[in-house]
């Protein structure tokens, strides 16, 4: 019998080895160009900065202590605030749009989705640049306001914090609408019919059935918007005019201007840790919702 056992596990081994030519190249590539870089950033955060840039290999926690400096703490908080504001606004204006699309006839649904996603596929910098044309003192929004007689003097819009928020909303709104749409359109239409049949008004149906069931989609959308908004440094620079310094700008500057890599690495780590924490919470929350929703299937 031991001979048979080894024959069987030999076959299992051969099966595992067969995976090597398929998995090997990708895993090696990922290890060198994804795992190693992230590990490097993590390690650098605990070392001193070199005199001429680079890293001096002396262990220190100074980089994290510096984060408590009100100057930097303010930047981190403002980043969270601005990304949060952009996420909230995107959710508010994205939800009705996603709901509308999910209730269109099938043919129009695809078209509406493409219409929403198309701007997202156009170049990020160009879309940012377009807002400069719109928000400028002599720009098209001010021209419109003056032509309509609403204002007489140009309103300063470009290079303000609200402008940065608008830019972020514009940039990531499709990322909010897509998961919202996915969760809304996958809802069983019979659920709303059942709620109506049981005597609920359309608003009550929305509040008690549609809205709670779309919560995981909304959460995913919020993460999709918040994560890139938080690390963005282009919009604060181009639309905020460099006056609004967010954590992304700070990290970029540590690496490319101040040449303080360890501090930049520490900033990036803290930002990533915060975002990963959000991701984990989101996964927990949506799992809780979906497990409460569907009974576990018996094993076949």
């Amino acid at each position: 019998m031991p001979a048979l056992r080894s024959a069987a596990s030999g076959a299992a081994w051969r099966r595992r080895l067969a995976g090597l030519p398929i998995l090997g190249p990708g895993v090696l590539f990922l290890f060198v160009l994804a795992v190693l870089p992230v590990a490097l950033v993590t390690v650098y955060a605990f070392f001193e900065r070199g005199r001429f840039g680079g890293v001096e290999y002396n262990f220190t926690l100074d980089n994290f202590v510096r984060l408590a400096d009100p100057l930097y703490l303010g930047v981190v908080l403002k980043s969270i605030l601005i990304a949060g504001a952009a996420t909230g606004i995107a959710l508010l204006i994205g939800y009705p749009a996603a709901l509308f699309i999910s209730r269109l006839p099938k043919r129009w649904r695809t078209l509406a989705l493409i219409a929403v996603l198309l701007p997202f596929w156009t170049n990020f910098l160009i879309r940012t640049y377009a807002w400069i044309l719109l928000l400028n003192n002599a720009g098209w929004i001010n021209q419109g306001l003056q032509a309509l007689g609403i204002t007489t003097e140009p309103v300063a819009m470009l290079y303000t914090e609200p402008a940065v928020v608008v830019g972020l909303v514009y940039m990531y709104l499709p990322l909010m609408i897509l998961p919202l749409y996915a969760s809304l359109s996958s809802q069983d239409a019979q659920l709303t019919e059942a709620a109506t049949n049981l005597g609920s008004s359309p608003f009550r149906v929305f509040r008690t059935v549609t809205l709670p069931l779309s919560a995981p989609g909304a959460l995913t959308g919020c993460i999709f918007v918040f994560v890139p908004a938080m690390g963005n440094f282009i919009i604060p620079e181009l639309i905020g005019g460099g006056k609004t310094v967010l954590i992304g700008n700070l990290i970029r500057d540590q690496f490319l201007k101040a040449r303080d890599w360890p501090f930049g690495a520490a900033l990036a780590l803290v930002m990533t840790a915060f975002l990963v924490l959000l991701l984990v919470l989101q996964q927990r929350a949506s799992r809780a919702v979906s497990e409460g929703k569907t009974p576990r299937k018996a094993d076949a």
Partner: protein, 372 residues
């Protein structure tokens, strides 16, 4: 011990399973299965979902590597052969027709993999399609066929290679009632004509009983009984088999001389060789019970329900001291009124006594008395 067909015990069985065991992590799926299947047999593996029957089938096909034990085909070990070298073909539960290939390409797939010549492939595919009556649909894609047609294609694709052994995984489960009856006959005919050995996995006892020459009943990774359908029904060897096959009144008690002693003090007469005092169950089929006047018969009770079934009726009788109503089948003309008192005459010669092994093997199993 090995279950083998009585008739062919002299010659070598086609397929032999020797102490086959397998587990998924901590879950033991198969416990030392020993089984022989003869050539030209229509064999069924029957059991509830999760009993290990699919694992067994997939081990024979080569998609699972059993942790322990051996599979022999014509006396040659199969275990070390990869799936694509085994002279065994399978009809999948989902049919697994290649959606990107036409019907004829699907059927030709296995022959092309063997490297057969073009002419031979065309001829044999043509024959196979004719056998299943789908010649007209050769150029269609699987997506354009009905469920029954898809099943025929899956069948043709498996038998065109003339395997030593054809494995069928829940072959009829996806079909509606009417098509299922047709396919059942068709499978029997094909097996007969092609002279092939069929091993069917199913959870549907009617399907297994009506098609198979022999049936193996599996429960929780163990073989409960391997027998002909008639023997399984008339002489179940375990409580599980009695419960799983057909409808039975299961009266739990302890073995006593000449029968089973129930908790309420009554004795149900049955021949048995169980040691006195062991937990045992009397198995009484509903058709082996006759109704009699109140006060006569083995048991008596009150009629709680009657179900008219055409030629016969089923009568439910509440017997004091029994946890569930007793079921018996009577000719439709003799149906008593609900609420009336009746006596039950049990045919002792047809009553079977089995050991009540639930406490040992399945702790926490539900206490069912009647099941269909």
């Amino acid at each position: 011990m090995t279950y083998g067909p009585d008739t062919v015990s002299a010659s070598q069985p086609l397929l032999q399973l020797r102490s086959l065991s397998h587990s998924y992590g901590s879950v033991q799926a198969l416990h030392g299965i020993d089984l022989d299947i003869a050539g030209n047999e229509f064999f069924a593996l029957l059991g509830p979902s999760g009993c290990g029957k699919s694992t067994l089938l997939r081990s024979i096909a080569g998609f699972e590597t059993p942790a322990h034990g051996e599979i022999l085909l014509d006396g040659e070990p199969l275990t070390a052969l990869p799936a694509h070298r085994r002279p065994v073909n399978m009809m999948f539960q989902s049919y697994a027709l290649f959606p990107h290939l036409s019907v004829e390409k699907n059927v030709a797939y296995g022959l092309e993999a063997e490297g057969r010549g073009k002419a031979e492939v065309r001829r044999r595919v043509g024959e196979a399609l004719e056998t299943i009556g789908l010649t007209k649909f050769a150029k269609r894609r699987p997506g354009q066929l009905s469920g029954g047609q898809r099943q025929r294609v899956a069948l043709a694709r498996a038998i065109v290679k003339r395997p030593r052994l054809l494995l069928l995984d829940e072959p009829l489960s996806a079909l509606d009632r009417k098509v299922r009856a047709e396919m059942q006959l068709e499978l029997k005919r094909l097996q007969h004509e092609a002279g092939m050995t069929f091993v069917v996995v199913t959870h549907d006892q009617e399907e297994a009983m009506s098609m198979a020459d022999r049936v193996a009943v599996l429960n929780a990774g163990r073989l409960e009984q391997v027998d002909t359908p008639v023997a399984l029904y008339a002489a179940p060897r375990t409580r599980f088999v009695a419960d799983f096959i057909g409808t039975a009144n299961l009266l739990d008690g302890t073995a006593a001389a000449g029968g089973i002693l129930l908790d309420n003090g009554l004795v149900i007469a049955a021949d048995h060789t169980l040691p006195a005092g062991t937990a045992a169950t009397a198995v009484v089929r509903p058709e082996d019970v006759a109704l009699a006047g109140a006060g006569t018969g083995t048991l008596s009770g009150t009629v709680v329900d009657t179900f008219f079934l055409g030629g016969t009726s089923t009568v439910s009788v509440q017997v004091p001291g029994l946890s569930a109503p007793f079921t018996c089948t009577v000719r439709a003309v003799q149906v008593p009124q609900r609420g009336s008192q009746v006596g039950l005459v049990i045919d002792a010669a047809r009553t079977v006594a089995v050991e009540d092994d639930r406490a040992a093997s399945r702790p926490g199993a539900a206490q069912e008395t009647v099941s269909s």
